[in-house]
C-alpha cells in the first residue's frame, strides 16, 4: 500500500527534518576533518590532516591492535555462539532448565557489575595489558547474546530436516556442518558484523585493560584528542580514521546491520 501524494510529501518533510538533525553534527565533523583551519572552520580542503593525525596519534600501532582484537574476538564469538546455539537450539543440553536462564541472565548483567573483580583476577593471572586477555573478556561477555541469537536461528529450521539426516546416520557434528550451518549462514553473517562493530567500538574495556603499546584505536583517539585540544581539524580527522572501518561495513551491509540491531533489541 502506498500513501497518496500529499501524504507522502508531508512524510518526507518529517523525515528530512529528522535526518538533518542527525546528519548535521556528522557533516560538520567531516568538514572540520578536511579543513586547513586549526579551529576546524570550513576553509580549503587539506587531505594531509589524515596523514598527520595518523602519525601523531600513533594509529599504525593502535589500528593494528584494534583490528587484531576485533577480528579474532568476533570470529571467536561467532564460533562460541554457533556451538552454544546448536546445543541449546537443536540437541538440547543436559541441565538446560537451569543453564539457559543463567545464560539469559547475562543479557541483563552490565559490565560494571563484573569489571572490578575481573580486573584484579586478570591482574593476578598476568592477563592485564594483554591482547589475548581482552579477547577472552570479549568472548565471555558475548556468550549470552550469541547463544540467544544462534539458538533462535537454529530453532527456526524445520525439525524434520534433522530427523531425516539422523536417519541417514549423520552424527551431530556432521549434521551441524553439512545440514544446519549452511542454512543459518545469514544469521551467522549478521552476528559476525555486529560482533565486529561492538568489539571495534569498545572503549571502556580497552581503557581498563590495555596500556602503552597495546591501546586500541578508540583509546588512542581519546588520548590524542586530550593532547591536541586546540587542533580541531586533526582531532576530527583522527575521529574519522577510527570510525572508518565500521562505517565502511555499515555502508556495505546496511540491511544486515539494521535488521540485526532491531531484532537484537526486540529479542525476536
Amino acid at each position: 500500500m502506498r500513501a497518496p501524494r500529499a501524504e507522502q510529501a508531508a512524510n518526507y518533510v518529517v523525515l528530512v527534518v529528522m535526518s538533518v538533525v542527525v546528519l548535521w553534527p556528522a557533516v560538520t565533523f567531516v568538514l572540520a576533518a578536511l579543513s586547513s583551519d586549526r579551529a576546524g572552520r570550513p576553509a580549503g580542503v587539506d587531505w594531509d590532516n589524515f596523514a598527520t593525525a595518523w602519525q601523531q596519534a600513533g594509529f599504525s600501532r593502535a589500528m593494528t591492535v584494534s583490528l587484531v582484537i576485533a577480528a579474532t574476538a568476533s570470529l571467536g564469538q561467532v564460533l562460541l555462539a554457533v556451538l552454544g546455539g546448536y546445543g541449546f537450539g537443536v540437541l538440547g543440553v543436559a541441565g538446560q532448565k537451569v543453564l539457559f536462564p543463567v545464560v539469559l541472565l547475562g543479557l541483563m548483567i552490565s559490565l560494571e557489575a563484573i569489571i572490578v573483580p575481573l580486573y584484579y583476577q586478570f591482574r593476578s593471572a598476568g592477563l592485564t595489558n594483554s591482547v589475548p586477555g581482552i579477547i577472552l573478556i570479549h568472548l565471555g561477555t558475548s556468550v549470552p547474546f550469541g547463544i540467544f541469537w544462534m539458538r533462535a536461528a537454529f530453532r527456526a529450521l524445520p525439525r524434520s530436516l534433522f530427523e531425516a539426516a539422523e536417519i541417514d546416520g549423520a552424527g551431530p557434528l556432521r549434521l551441524l556442518l553439512r545440514v544446519a550451518a549452511p542454512l543459518v549462514s545469514p544469521a551467522v553473517w549478521t552476528l559476525l558484523l555486529l560482533a565486529f562493530m561492538w568489539t571495534w567500538n569498545d572503549y571502556f574495556l580497552s581503557l581498563v585493560f590495555l596500556h602503552g603499546d597495546n591501546v586500541t584505536a578508540t583509546v588512542a583517539l581519546g588520548v590524542f584528542q586530550g593532547r591536541y585540544v586546540t587542533q580541531i581539524n586533526l582531532m576530527a580527522a583522527g575521529g574519522l580514521i577510527v570510525a572508518a572501518p565500521v562505517l565502511v561495513l555499515y555502508v556495505l551491509f546496511q540491511r544486515r546491520f539494521i535488521s540485526g540491531m532491531l531484532a537484537g533489541a526486540l529479542r525476536e
Binding site: 502506498r2 507522502q8 508531508a10 512524510n11 518526507y12 518529517v14 523525515l15 529528522m18 535526518s19 538533525v21 542527525v22 556528522a26 565533523f29 562460541l80 556451538l83 552454544g84 546448536y86 546445543g87 537443536v90 538440547g92 543440553v93 543436559a94 543453564l99 543463567v102 545464560v103 541483563m108 552490565s110 560494571e112 557489575a113 563484573i114 569489571i115 572490578v116 573483580p117 580486573y119 584484579y120 583476577q121 573478556i137 565471555g140 556468550v143 550469541g146 547463544i147 524445520p158 525439525r159 551431530p172 551441524l176 567500538n201 572503549y203 571502556f204 583517539l221 581519546g222 584528542q225 582531532m235 574519522l240 577510527v242 570510525a243 546496511q254 546491520f257 539494521i258 540491531m261 533489541a265
Partner: protein, 315 residues
C-alpha cells in the same frame, strides 16, 4: 524440550507432529542428544562462567570489604553501600542519572512517537535511506560521538556561532565547562544518539498494527489524536518497553561520553556512578566501594528491565 512443539508445527505443516508416537520419539532422540548438546555448549558456557558469572559473585564479596588493591582487605559489612546515602558526590551522581534519563530516554521516545505518529503507515519509497541515516549514531563509537559534540559545544564551536548569528550572542558559553549547562549538554548528546533508533523502532512497530483497528477508530469518528492514543500507543507497547529499557540502562551506565568530554567536571557537576566506579576501582583504589557501585548498578538495571517488561507485556 517442552517448547519444541511450536517450531515443529511451523516447520512442517503437512505432517501431524502431535501424535503420541512422535512425541515419544522426539523425547528419546532428545534424551540421546542432550549430553552431546552439553558437550557442544561446554566451551561457551565455560568461558561465560569464567569471565562473567565468577566475577559477578566476587563483586558481591568484594563489596563487603575495604581494600586498596594491594594490602590486606578488611571486612566492613555494608559500609560501602551506605555511601549511596552518606557520600554527597555519589548521591549527587544519582541525581545526574535522573537528568540523563530524561535526555537519553524520555525525550527521544517522545520525539520518536511524535514522528511515528506524523508519518503515515503506508510504505514510503526511500525509507531505506532514512533508516540508514537514523541508525548512523548507533554504529559510531562513543569516542567519536564525544569528539563531534565537543567541537559543537566548544567556546568557538558551531553552537555558539549559530547563537551569535541569530542575535542570541548573550547566551554563548563553553557549554561543557559550565556548571549548570554541562549536564544537559551531555544529555542532548544522548538524545542525538538514541532518538533515531527509537524512531525506526516505532515506525516498524506501527506498520505491524492491523489496519482494521485504524478503520474501526475512524468509523467511531476518532481524530488524529484520539487515534494515536487509542490505537497507535497501545499497539507500540512492546516497542516502547524495549526502548525504555535500553535507553534507561544506557543513561544509568553513561561512562565513555563523560570520560572523554568532562571527566565528571566542572567540579562534580557531570559525575555519573560509572565514572565514580572507574575512579574508585582503578585510579584511587577503594575497590570495595567500586564493587558496591557495580553491584547496585547491576541490580537497578535488572529491576528496571524486569519491571518494564512486566508492565508492557501485560494485557
Amino acid at each position: 524440550m517442552p517448547e519444541a512443539g511450536n517450531d515443529v508445527v511451523r516447520g512442517t505443516p503437512l505432517v501431524d507432529r502431535t501424535t503420541p508416537h512422535h512425541r515419544v520419539r522426539a523425547r528419546t532422540l532428545h534424551a540421546r542428544t542432550r549430553w552431546t548438546g552439553l558437550a557442544f555448549a561446554a566451551l561457551p558456557l565455560a568461558v561465560y562462567g569464567f569471565v562473567v558469572l565468577w566475577p559477578l559473585l566476587q563483586s558481591v564479596q568484594y563489596s563487603f570489604f575495604d581494600w586498596d588493591g594491594v594490602s590486606q582487605a578488611t571486612w566492613v559489612g555494608l559500609k560501602n553501600y551506605t555511601g549511596f546515602v552518606t557520600d554527597p558526590v555519589l548521591r549527587s551522581s544519582l541525581g545526574h542519572v535522573l537528568v540523563l534519563i530524561a535526555f537519553f530516554s524520555l525525550l527521544p521516545i517522545a520525539l520518536g512517537l511524535v514522528s511515528a505518529a506524523m508519518l503515515t503507515r503506508a510504505r514510503q519509497p526511500g525509507m531505506g535511506l532514512f533508516r540508514w541515516i537514523f541508525f548512523l549514531p548507533q554504529v559510531l563509537t562513543s569516542v567519536v560521538v564525544a569528539l563531534m559534540f565537543r567541537r559543537i559545544y566548544a567556546a568557538e564551536g558551531s553552537l555558539n556561532s549559530v547563537l551569535s548569528a541569530v542575535g542570541l550572542g548573550g547566551l554563548t558559553r563553553p557549554w561543557l565547562a559550565d556548571f549548570t549547562w554541562a549536564l544537559p549538554a551531555l544529555g542532548l548528546i544522548g538524545t542525538w544518539v538514541t532518538f533515531g533508533f527509537c524512531m525506526v523502532l516505532f515506525i516498524s512497530g506501527t506498520s505491524a498494527i492491523p489496519d482494521e483497528l485504524y478503520e474501526a477508530a475512524r468509523m467511531d469518528g476518532a481524530g488524529a489524536v484520539r487515534e494515536f492514543v487509542a490505537v497507535t500507543l497501545p499497539g507500540l507497547r512492546g516497542q516502547i518497553g524495549v526502548a525504555l529499557t535500553l535507553t534507561i540502562t544506557t543513561a544509568l551506565r553513561t561512562f565513555d561520553l563523560v570520560w572523554v568530554t568532562t571527566r565528571g567536571g566542572p567540579g562534580t557537576s557531570t559525575m555519573t556512578p560509572a565514572v565514580l566506579l572507574y575512579r574508585a576501582a582503578f585510579q584511587n583504589p577503594d575497590v570495595g566501594k567500586a564493587a558496591a557501585i557495580g553491584v547496585v548498578m547491576a541490580v537497578v538495571c535488572l529491576l528496571i528491565a524486569l519491571v518494564i517488561t512486566k508492565v508492557t507485556e501485560e494485557d
